[in-house]
């Protein structure tokens, strides 16, 4: 035990020494934290490494048929670290020439010598993050990865790339505002905004180092946490109809030099929006999509609102279609304020149905006044019952609030009722009016307008959106039937008789509203022309509204300004919707009425055309044995003429479809830019001109 005592004495001595050492550590922590604390903390703030977000690839937005409406295209920023540790002088100088040559060859912007100079300069000056190229494409990235030096990767070859995703709309302006955008620090717009959560995906993380100039450089070759791609959104939009709607609207806007206009086409049974176009004029007189008027602009609707007034009176059993209404000489005073009908001298005494068809303001006002003067709230409640005061609740942000004045409103006056009856002192967006008309077309069932069909990823369906019923029945069956009859009368013999045409019947209502300009009232008049309706009248498939604001060429009636747009869209939709077609017997009737027997043929390859003609039994005259032919459709046969293609001369592609035209032109050494759809109408370089060298661009306009 003696020796153990010695051991213990020495052991405790050492224990004491170690304790001193530990004390030194504690003191050192104290020193670092308190005395040097501020230095290290400031160093911590300037920390040069951090996990940085990498954006996920955003999901695509598709039209109903799968056409791409919005997509993300990855672009790459290519950087080079010429002083990466494992790149020796020997390696660098042995390969820099071929690297420079490859870069020059790929990008075709600088000479190999210039590239070499830059690379060598970078190496000498100690650069660690040289910019090689911004916005490189994916294909270029793949090539770059195989280049000398670069092919060794991030550490071995100093090859650095950063991915950015650029959002693109392949159809550019088509439905641009409805597709919308979702950018940082800006309120998201349209479907991009409404479905941003699904589209965005999950960002990844990557360890990056901050270098001079607030630039972040990735440290490792791979992403530390891979981003998860966003979901794709399949919309209800039909790109062909959208195109027709947009073009028809544009044509009318230009023709009438209007301020803005919008068109919405809705499928009656489901509420699916097939097309939505919004165009407004900028300072230079050009039209483009910059505001979703259809959804956002709540205005006084004017005469289209009469439908609601008449329906209310019908529903309450106050009127029948055959009842007479006195409209007098076209001028009627309510409490000293005159009201006019558009026809000089007035309509006299007419039936309710005619009053609607001719859109008599006085008739609407007198019906409302007669039956609801003492109980105005009853009238308002009827409108509420028809769902007119409720927003549609579309997923796209920024829906205008509907406003139907209550009789208890302090601003309610004796004039309110007669003026509300034909669409003033109320405010609705075009989409809300359409939803209402659509409910009439849909036998009283009000559908929520819908833009999204489903959400999917890589073709796998993730979520399907079902149609939503907003209101089971806005009015009784009888009232709906009568309403339909009135709407048909408008086109049959009323204000929209110009829309009457062969093939199928349209039902609808014109609207010509004076636009109040704030405190200036209605003095300095400006108009809003509209047409809202559905087709085919006997079996409604689609409803549609057209609104044109402030047409300034003295023509402002709904039937003349908005009507033609409606007709054009309806024709297009009808002709492409097989369900809508009448029985074949009707087709024969059309033939009898003098329509051409021979279908119009496109220009193209002779062999293909003759094969088609033979197959469907179209008589043709083939006077040539060339490869490309032009066709001329006669009354009883198609004549084909040879189109000569001479080497080095620009060929004539007018009348061909895009496929043939692109084939022919690209083979001739041109690059083609297409605009529109259909058959080539114009080509930007005249046929027969010598083809300029260097792959020039030729623009084709199709329609």
């Amino acid at each position: 035990m003696e020796s153990n005592k010695l051991i213990l004495r020495r052991a405790y001595l050492l224990y004491f020494l170690i304790g001193m050492g530990m004390l030194a550590i504690v003191f050192r922590i104290f020193q670092i934290q308190v005395i040097e604390g501020s230095i290290w903390k400031s160093k911590a703030e300037n920390l040069t490494i951090d996990f940085r977000k990498i954006e996920a690839v955003r999901g695509n937005i598709y039209a109903k048929d799968g056409s791409l409406l919005a997509t993300s295209v990855p672009k790459y920023e290519i950087r080079f670290d010429p002083n990466t540790e494992s790149l020796s002088d020997e390696d660098f100088y042995a390969n820099v020439d071929s690297l420079a040559w490859c870069l020059a060859n790929l990008f075709q912007d600088y000479s190999p010598e210039a590239y070499r100079e830059r690379l060598v300069q970078g190496r000498k000056s100690g650069a660690r993050f040289m910019l090689v190229r911004r916005n490189a494409k994916y294909t270029e990235l793949s090539e770059l990865r195989a280049f000398p030096i670069f092919r060794r990767g991030r550490y071995g070859g100093g090859f650095i790339y950063l991915q950015h995703n650029k959002r693109q709309r392949p159809f550019r302006h088509l439905a641009a505002r409805t597709i919308g955008y979702d950018r940082q620090e800006v309120l998201p717009v349209g479907l991009e905004g409404a479905y941003r959560k699904a589209l965005r995906g999950v960002s990844g993380q990557r360890l990056m180092q901050k270098i001079a100039g607030n630039v972040w450089m990735p440290i490792s070759d791979d992403n530390d946490i891979e981003p998860v791609d966003g979901y794709d959104l399949v919309t209800t939009l039909d790109i062909n109809i959208q195109d027709v709607a947009e073009n028809a609207l544009l044509k009318q806007l230009v023709k009438h030099d209007a301020q803005y206009g919008c068109v919405v086409l809705m499928e009656v049974q489901t509420g699916e929006i097939r097309a939505i176009a919004n165009l407004s004029r900028d300072e230079e007189g050009r039209y483009y999509e910059n505001y979703n008027y259809a959804i956002g602009a709540s205005t006084e609707p004017g005469s289209t609102f009469k439908l609601a007034t008449f329906m209310a009176a019908l529903e309450d059993g106050h009127i029948e279609l055959t009842d007479s209404v006195e409209t007098g000489n076209g001028k009627y005073e309510f409490y000293g304020t005159p009201m006019y009908d558009s026809k000089e001298g007035g309509y006299g005494t007419i039936t309710v149905k005619d009053a609607f068809a001719y859109s008599s303001n006085i008739a609407a006002a007198r019906i409302a006044e007669k039956y609801y003067k003492d109980t105005p709230q009853e009238f308002v409640n009827r409108l509420y019952q028809m769902g007119l005061n409720r927003p549609t609740g579309v997923e796209i942000a920024g829906e205008g609030k509907p406003f139907i004045k209550s009789a208890n409103d302090p601003s309610w006056s004796g004039l309110s009722l007669p003026w509300m009856s034909h669409g003033y002192e109320v405010s609705l967006t075009p989409l809300q009016i359409l939803t209402f008309y659509n409910a009439v077309a849909n036998d009283g069932q009000m559908m929520k307008p819908m833009f999204a069909r489903r959400i999917e990823k890589h073709g796998e369906v993730h979520k399907i959106f079902d149609p939503i019923v907003l209101e089971k029945s806005i009015a009784s069956k009888k009232t709906i039937e009568k309403s339909k009859e009135m709407l048909e009368a408008v086109v049959e013999y009323g204000t929209a008789i110009n829309l009457k045409g062969a093939g199928f019947k349209i039902a609808g209502k014109t609207g010509t509203a004076q636009i109040s300009r704030g405190k200036y009232g209605y003095d300095k008049v400006s108009y809003q022309a509209s047409f809202c309706g559905y087709f085919p009248a006997n079996n409604p498939l689609y409803s549609c509204i057209v609104v044109v604001n402030a047409p300034s060429r003295n023509v402002y009636y709904g039937n003349l300004v908005a009507g033609p747009i409606f007709r054009e869209i309806a024709n297009k939709v009808y002709s492409t919707t097989l369900d809508a077609q009448e029985e074949i017997s009707d087709f024969n009737g059309q033939l009898a009425s003098g329509r051409p027997l021979i279908p119009v043929s496109k220009n193209g390859i002779e062999k293909d055309l003759t094969q088609v003609f033979n197959a469907i039994g179209v008589p043709y005259v083939d006077e040539c044995d060339g490869f490309w032919v032009s066709t001329q459709t006669g009354t009883d046969q198609v004549a084909m003429k040879e189109v000569s293609t001479v080497e080095n001369l620009v060929p004539n592609v007018v009348g061909m479809d895009a496929e043939d035209a692109v084939y022919l032109l690209e083979n001739s050494g041109l690059r083609v830019l297409l605009e529109g759809r259909g058959v080539v109408k114009r080509q930007s370089i005249q046929a027969g001109v010598r083809i300029p060298s260097g792959k020039p661009l030729i623009k084709l306009v199709l329609s």
Binding site: N4, R10, I25, R28, I32, W40, A44, L47, I49, D50
Partner: protein, 375 residues
């Protein structure tokens, strides 16, 4: 004993939280945590098994082990897996688990020294008969560890010398090593300068020591210490809370060599202090065991093992706070690192085995006394 176990489990909680937190970004964090938990679990198993063995057997085992370790170390130096220019690892055949042979050597050498000291208890003052042969073995083992792992060699040498000092070897004898060490260092430097291949780690040592002396610099070594200091400074008194470390992203080896800095960052000054107190408690507990134990071998064994553990911990903490140049010493029982955890467990198992024997002897004593009273 209960105290000791409690102490370990607290340490282990630290360990798992920190490791878990560290690998949060790794994607397969669960894998690492699970693996570590497995090592901890088996480590506890080892402690239990070994503490059931009578410590007297370790004397025999030590004799055997030291002759196994020496060729093993030589083998490692020649064939071992090369991590950062340091051949420290050897893969055990069949179970495919690599381990640092120096960990085994540490254990073996301490046991060996304890055994020798106990056997030659009465001849400790004999320089040529006792000190030289014993020191020869020590230096041989250390010499084999040194080229790959300088710091472990230093820890081991320090522990051996301390143990001899405590056992009563004359300080004069120990001091004879000083000229020897100086000449050894000189030879290494000359060798390294003339043929760099012979000591591949020399450059690293040189850099680290130079960095430490100069204080300022921009090389990797200083990057580590700077990041560690930032971790400590931002931790404050109470720390950022478990799992909230940000420095773990910047601090290389934050789960092993620089874990102490992360502990201070997450648990603050207080957490750092608790760790130190726990180590001191461990050492104190070991001294209490030594006080009660009968045989010299047991005493030396406990002293050697506990001091080596605590010195290693102290070096790790010293490096973390910037008191010592950068070395690869882990914080025993806390750092992630499977096999070294096992070896630590074995050490603790041996200490507990000694502790158990005391309790049993007391029991026997009291039984005897009881019998005596009854009779």
């Amino acid at each position: 004993m209960v105290l000791l176990l409690a102490l370990w489990s607290i340490l282990l909680v630290y360990s798992s939280v920190v490791t878990l937190a560290y690998k949060y970004h790794g994607g397969n964090a669960i894998f690492y945590v699970f693996k570590h938990a497995l090592f901890v679990g088996t480590g506890f198993g080892l402690i239990y098994i070994i503490h059931r063995i009578n410590y007297r057997y370790f004397s025999r085992i030590a004799q055997l082990l030291i002759w196994i370790v020496i060729p093993l170390l030589a083998l490692t130096l020649l064939l071992g897996v090369n991590v950062n220019n340091a051949s420290r690892w050897l893969t055990i055949p069949f179970i495919n688990q690599s381990f640092q042979t120096s960990d085994l050597a540490k254990l073996a050498l301490i046991m060996f020294v304890a055994r020798t000291l106990a056997q030659k208890k009465d001849d400790l003052k004999d320089f040529s008969g006792t000190f030289v042969p014993m020191m020869g073995v020590v230096l041989l083992v250390i010499g084999l560890i040194l080229p790959a792992n300088l710091s472990t060699a230093v820890v081991l040498l320090a522990t051996s010398l301390l143990l001899m000092f405590m056992a009563g070897v004359k300080v004069k004898h120990l001091l004879t090593l000083v000229p020897l060490a100086i000449s050894a260092i000189a030879i290494i430097i000359i060798l390294a300068k003339t043929s760099p291949d012979f000591f591949p780690r020399f450059e690293t040592w040189n850099n680290r020591i130079e960095n430490f002396i100069s204080g300022e610099g921009n090389s990797d070594g200083n990057y580590q210490t700077d990041q560690a200091k930032i971790a400590i400074a931002t931790g404050g008194f109470m720390g950022k809370g478990p799992g909230n470390s940000t420095q773990r992203n910047f601090l290389p080896s934050s789960y092993s060599d620089f874990i102490y800095a992360i502990i201070v960052e997450e648990y603050g000054f207080l957490g750092g202090l608790v760790i130190i107190l726990l180590y001191m408690a461990l050492l104190y507990r070991s001294l209490r065991i030594v006080q009660q134990v009968k045989g010299s071998f047991a005493a030396y064994l406990v002293l050697g093992l506990s001091f080596s553990l605590v010195i290693q911990g102290m070096i790790n903490m010293g490096v973390n706070v910037g008191l010592l140049p950068v070395t690869g010493q882990t914080l025993p029982l806390i750092s992630k690192g499977g096999t070294s955890f096992w070896f630590t467990s074995i050490s603790l198992g041996i200490i507990l085995s000694v502790s158990r024997s005391i309790q049993e002897e007391e029991k026997v004593e009291s039984l005897k006394q009881n019998r005596y009273v009854q009779a």
